[in-house]
């Protein structure tokens, strides 16, 4: 199977659209998943932004330096597309609403329902840092590179975001000590 680097060379060298399609097929799930988390579960917006991300990546692929990680670079573009979209639609965007008082999320344990409510309690920078750390298993310096935030800020976003989520989960009586599903795509993320 061709590596990312080989595919990138085929795209930039001979404008091979088949090679680019293979890159999209390979990385779409990670980028769409990342954007779904950033948009707090808004799949429509996430897919639009993911499409923009890949189109911009195609235009700028020649600027990707040899030795740079394509995955990190795609996440950087996705994050910037998300911030740009936020600025553009700052006024009219309907944010995922926090749960109403009295709403018991225990009745909605499904992650697809729980997650948007949960993520709406942290701001977009905290969301991005937490997702990159826990879903992608990235280190703090890598997260800093993607988000353009200083290392100390990344650390404080992660720790503040964690605290908020922990408080929210405890407040809504979600078990934190139960047997977490081992594995998942992430690696050990105790760096956070």
């Amino acid at each position: 199977m061709a590596t990312d680097r080989e595919l990138v060379i085929r795209v930039t060298g001979s404008d091979d659209q088949g090679a680019f399609q293979m890159l999209v097929e390979r990385h779409q799930a990670a980028i769409r998943g990342f954007l779904v988390r950033l948009t707090a579960g808004d799949r429509g917006t996430a897919d639009d932004l993911a499409q923009e991300t890949f189109l911009l990546a195609y235009r700028k692929l020649h600027t990707l330096k040899a030795g740079s990680s394509l995955v990190s670079w795609l996440h950087t573009i996705a994050y910037r597309q998300f911030l740009q979209d936020r600025r553009k639609h700052a006024r009219q965007r309907v944010m995922a609403e926090p749960p109403e008082p009295g709403h018991d999320p225990r009745q909605a344990m499904d992650a697809s329902i729980l997650l948007p409510a949960l993520l709406s309690h942290v701001n977009e920078h905290e969301r991005a840092c937490l997702t990159l750390a826990y879903a992608e298993g990235m280190s703090h310096p890598e997260i800093g590179e993607i988000t353009g935030l200083p290392l100390g800020t990344v650390k404080s976003h992660i720790s503040r975001g964690k605290r908020k989520l922990q408080e929210w989960l405890l407040e809504h009586d979600h078990s934190l000590s139960g047997p977490g599903r081992a594995g998942g795509p992430g690696q050990e993320t105790n760096r956070a």
Binding site: V24, Y134, T189
Partner: protein, 106 residues
């Protein structure tokens, strides 16, 4: 507690990431939009390139008799200002047209 919470967060925030099959609607949409964008660019660049070439030819024809003067006459401040404005406009158009984000380089 922090370890259990880390696991919980990892469980909540992770997402499946199987490679998409070739006929995945998202991939198909991206590739379709890519081809449409390339066509649009070719048309726009062709039209603007044609207009530019036509102006260039017309200008060359008009200056043919006095072409040496173009390089020997002093360039006025007004001409310099107009040139700078034109260059800035061209750069702005290019940035908008290419949707360039300089910060994504690298």
């Amino acid at each position: 507690m922090p370890d259990a919470f880390d696991r919980k967060l990892q469980e909540l925030l992770s997402y499946p990431r199987p490679p998409a099959p070739g006929d995945d609607p998202f991939v198909a949409d991206v590739m379709r939009e890519l081809r449409a964008e390339r066509r649009r660019r070719h048309v726009i660049l062709g039209v603007f390139g044609g207009i530019g070439a036509a102006f260039g030819l017309a200008g060359a024809a008009m200056l043919l008799d006095d072409i040496a003067g173009v390089f020997t006459r002093d360039i006025s401040a007004m001409a310099l200002t107009q040139g700078a404005l034109f260059l800035a406009g061209a750069a702005a158009f290019y940035s908008w047209f290419m949707n360039d984000d300089w910060s994504t380089g690298g």
